[in-house]
């Protein structure tokens, strides 16, 4: 520890602290622009100059290491003069257009200049003008306002992992820009808006909609991936106008992914369902809640009476709230049906009944940063869990060896130590090799099944890396969880973790993937799972917050089942055109901003939130609708008066973490390694902006590169074998469905694989995400 005195206040700080760190600890504010605690030190703005005893010149607090006994003066004449001088320089070329600047009211330059700026400017020459840059649909630029703090540049380089922005030219001509008119494609790009201390980078979707002081700020939780980023939702007149990160070091740090930040646009979408509707004689009519719910209650009762309760089933999105999930399963089970599931994209359920608890990350999120070895199995890492990927990126920078086995070779922007890319059918075999090799290296024994496997050098390298670590983790990504042999992958990963002493976890797919298990919105003994619910068409379906034709593993089968059903009840904030064909009742339930609720993230953290705006039109919170429905059905246990009561019932208390419900250990899984696929294997990703009902409707996200129409992607050998040219239209056939799309070269794919994205209307006619298909030139 070092002693330091700041403005007469003495304190002790750890070795390696800077004066800025010390000031922070002392509660002293030192003005700054370029300094940011999560970014490297640039010391270029010079705003933080302070006086240090014995130093002849003012020193930048952000870059000056504390030495023992140092005395710092942040408000001495020397310091203030230096700070004022810098402020004058910053302002001479600044347009001072605060009245028309979106940053007005939340601008660090504006705030500080009030304290430091002189009166009239002594600079009488013409001011610099800088042309604006096109950074894509999310970030708007006003580059003349830029003060060259390079926070945005450092962010893309250090946090997002690819230097998409740079400072080109030099001196006064320096400009922050992307390379050529390339827009910024990072899934974390919105953070540069927060980082920009002035109004040079602002939110394009938000532009000019309100002043910061006119908006209310409310806390919430992101309803997308398993991370559960903490949000500040800003509203005005009961409309969500902007979403910002709520800092939580343990979860999202101070970042948000673009989907967390910009999906709010969907909340104001024209596709919002704002009133209950019923289909009568093939026509949709508006209904009152009373009418609609009576209808549902009758329909379900009739089905139960005529066909048995087992003819009813519920599919819930894993992004629904814990309260909604809990009441849905309670309702179904109250009626006598165990057919409820929220693992809509899963295709292998062999783990059911064998798993010790809810599959989860296997560690705290923050522990990712401290890993020294990691193996990621089957994951479109960056696009599936952008901020978990970011943590792995930081870990890799600190020396963590990150390895990857997968069926596609997208750039993770994480420094990868070793990787092996194989066809989906080969994935279990590949993981088995790693297990075997690790066992050999550790002198552990393996099953007979594994003894047969022959180990490739790459698998051996991965195993050696894991074996040599002291803090390793094996992480199953979305692709592994959705894999046709998911249980085998799970069992192998579990074994590998045991052999290597590694942690073993799931990269949680959705905001409430864990919550769904905790709420029991997954089948228990005797109930049907999501695939079975759709495979054996039931008579009545309850769909909660889900759009099954886009959210399920096999859209073809899903549509067929729903079309055959007698009654399909849709509880959703939106009305999707294709839903109108099979649904019988549409019930407008609140999206996350219009209801209170709870998400349990992938580390088991229970995060509850309140409504931030009033429900739109006749929309009602889902939990209330379910409660009333329970009453109408005459079921016991539907007396809750608040979502808190529902939560307390679901969680049996108010835990911060649901540690006792989490368990990745499975017993008695039969390995299935001999998987041979005849024909072309489909590799499906769920592109980040197709992944759920909200992102699909956020116009700005839909304009970004990640939302481009699905293509049929193949490597050069596969293209050649099929006689298909990249850029040409092809017919992709799977089961009874056909989709026409453009063929694209993707050199990172294994032979005989065709990558076709799921979650998009273009591919919603196709079959299972896991399976084979054919491709024909047009």
């Amino acid at each position: 520890m070092l002693d330091i005195e700041i403005d007469g206040k003495t304190l002790q700080v750890p070795e390696g602290s800077t004066v800025m760190d010390a000031a922070h600890q002392a509660g002293t504010y030192i003005p700054h622009f370029c300094y940011h605690k999560k970014l490297s030190i640039a010391a270029n703005c010079r705003m933080c100059l302070v006086q240090v005893e014995k130093a002849p010149k003012p020193m930048p607090a952000c870059a000056t290491p504390v030495t023992n006994g140092m005395k710092v003066f942040t408000h001495s004449e020397l310091a203030i003069n230096a700070q004022k001088g810098v402020m004058e320089f910053l302002l001479i070329n600044h347009p001072l257009d605060c009245p028309i600047c979106d940053q007005g009211g939340e601008c660090q330059l504006q705030d500080l200049s009030a304290g430091y700026g002189g009166g009239a400017s002594r600079y009488q020459e013409e001011k610099r003008v800088v042309v604006n840059k096109n950074l894509g649909p999310l970030v708007s630029t006003d580059m003349t306002r830029c003060i060259h703090c390079t926070r945005c540049v450092r962010f893309t380089q250090e946090i997002a992992g690819l230097m998409e922005l740079g400072q080109a030219y030099r001196g006064e001509h320096a400009e922050i820009m992307p390379f050529v008119e390339q827009t910024v494609a990072s899934e974390l790009s919105g953070n540069i808006i927060d980082l920009c201390p002035v109004g040079a980078l602002t939110s394009k979707p938000f532009r000019f909609s309100a002043r910061s002081w006119e908006m209310a700020r409310r806390k919430s939780v992101s309803p997308h991936d398993g991370l559960g980023s903490n949000l500040i939702v800003q509203t005005k007149h009961d409309r969500v106008l902007r979403v910002l990160p709520l800092e939580n070091e343990a979860v999202n740090e101070c970042w948000l992914s673009d989907k967390d930040r910009f999906s709010y646009e969907a909340l104001n979408s024209a596709e919002r369902l704002t009133q209950p509707m019923l289909k009568q004689d093939g026509k949709w009519i508006n209904a009152s809640w009373q009418q609609a719910l009576d209808y549902v209650a009758h329909a379900f009762k009739d089905i139960a009476k005529d066909h048995g309760a087992a003819a009813l089933g519920a599919l819930t999105a894993p992004q629904a709230t814990l309260e909604e999930l809990f009441l849905t399963q309670k309702l179904l089970r109250g009626l006598g049906s165990g057919n409820v599931d929220s693992r809509l994209r899963q295709s292998d359920f062999a783990l059911d009944g064998k798993l010790g608890g809810a599959p989860w990350l296997g560690m705290k999120i923050a522990e990712i940063n401290a890993l020294d070895r990691a193996l990621v199995v089957g994951s479109f890492l960056r696009k599936d869990q952008p901020l978990l990927a970011q943590r792995l990126r930081q870990a890799a920078k600190r020396g963590c060896q990150v390895s990857l086995i997968h069926s596609a070779d997208d750039d993770t922007l994480v420094k990868i130590f070793a990787k092996s890319i194989v066809a989906p059918s080969q994935l279990p075999g590949l993981l088995a090799q790693v297990v075997k090799s690790a066992a050999e290296q550790k002198g552990a024994t393996v099953d007979a099944e594994l003894a047969k496997v022959s180990v490739t050098p790459e698998a051996q390298k991965i195993a050696a890396s894991l074996v040599s670590g002291t803090n390793a983790a094996i992480l199953l990504g979305n692709f592994a969880q959705q894999h046709a042999q998911a249980a085998t992958l799970h069992a192998l990963a579990q074994q590998l973790a045991k052999i290597t002493g590694a942690k073993f976890g799931y990269l949680g797919e959705a905001a409430n993937s864990v919550g769904a298990y905790v709420a029991k919105a997954v089948p228990q003994a005797g109930g049907l799972n999501a695939a079975q619910i759709l495979a054996s068409p039931l008579k009545g379906y309850l769909l909660l917050q889900a759009e099954p034709e886009l959210d399920c593993a096999n859209p073809q089968q899903t549509l067929a089942a729903l079309q055959k059903a007698a009654t399909v009840v849709v509880m959703s904030p939106f009305k999707l055109a294709s839903t109108l064909e099979y649904a019988d009742v549409l019930l407008p339930v609140a999206p996350f901003t219009e209801t209170s609720g709870t998400f349990i993230n992938t580390e088991g953290r229970v995060q509850s939130f309140n409504a931030v705006v009033k429900p739109l039109g006749d929309t009602r919170p889902g939990w209330k609708v379910l409660r009333v429905l329970g009453n109408l059905l005459g079921l016991p246990g539907f007396e809750q008066n608040s979502s808190e009561e529902v939560r307390a019932e679901a969680l049996a208390g108010q835990p911060e973490f649901v540690a006792d419900r989490l368990n990745n250990q499975a017993n008695g899984v039969v390995l299935n390694l001999s998987l041979s696929a005849a024909g072309l294997e489909r590799v499906s990703d769920v592109p980040i902006y197709f992944a759920d009902a909200l992102v699909r409707r956020a116009p700005s996200l839909q304009k970004s590169l990640d939302a481009k129409q699905p293509r049929a992607r193949m490597n050069a050998a596969t293209l050649a074998k099929l006689g298909v040219a990249a850029g040409k239209q092809v017919k992709v056939k799977q089961g009874s469905g056909v989709a026409q799309m453009t063929a694209e070269l993707d050199a990172g794919l294994p032979d005989n694989c065709v990558r076709v994205a799921a979650g998009h209307v273009l591919t919603a006619g196709l079959g299972a995400m896991q399976g084979t298909l054919t491709v024909e030139p047009m």
Binding site: E164, G166, Q167, A168, Y169, P178, F179, V180
Partner: protein
């Protein structure tokens, strides 16, 4: 995009640096690419960046930071005259004016026949030889009195 010959020269530069520091060769690689192509188009910069395994923006930063990279086409001969103070004291500006008049172009302009582009340079590091100029970044010409300039232009034109 770049010729085998240029790539070979770039490889030679890469070999000067530790194996994990290929980016160190970017200045030389851009210079070689410029030598081959005449100037640095954005595709050329991207190509160099890819070859060295660095972000294209990082290569672009380098290309825009250093004076001798040409980000737009220049004439067959780029003539850079130093007009900084030490040179000016010994006729640097005078020579620049002479060249302007002879070629009929101003600084940063190219003659109509595409032969010459005239550039103003900062200190070339040979002030003692003033007036000095540089041809195509590589050939340094000292003591450029007007007769010397006439000779040089004649030589380049032939």
């Amino acid at each position: 995009m770049l010729s085998q010959e240029t790539l070979k020269k770039i490889d030679r530069e890469i070999a000067k640096y530790p194996a994990d520091q290929k980016q160190s060769a970017v200045m030389a690689a851009l210079a070689l690419a410029q030598e081959e192509k005449g100037w640095l188009a954005q595709e050329t910069i991207a190509c160099v960046a890819e070859y060295l395994g660095m972000a294209p923006m990082a290569a672009y930063e380098v290309a825009t930071f250093y004076n001798m990279y040409d980000l737009a086409p220049v004439g067959k001969y780029k003539l850079t005259v130093c007009t900084n103070l030490p040179c000016a004291l010994s006729g640097g500006v005078h020579v620049a004016d002479y060249l302007k008049q002879k070629l009929g172009v101003d600084f940063n302009e190219t003659t109509a026949d595409g032969m010459f582009t005239l550039k103003e340079g900062e200190c070339l590091g040979v002030c003692g030889d003033a007036p000095v100029m540089l041809v195509n970044n590589r050939r340094l010409c000292s003591y450029m009195a007007t007769e010397e300039i006439d000779k040089l232009l004649a030589e380049l034109k032939s």
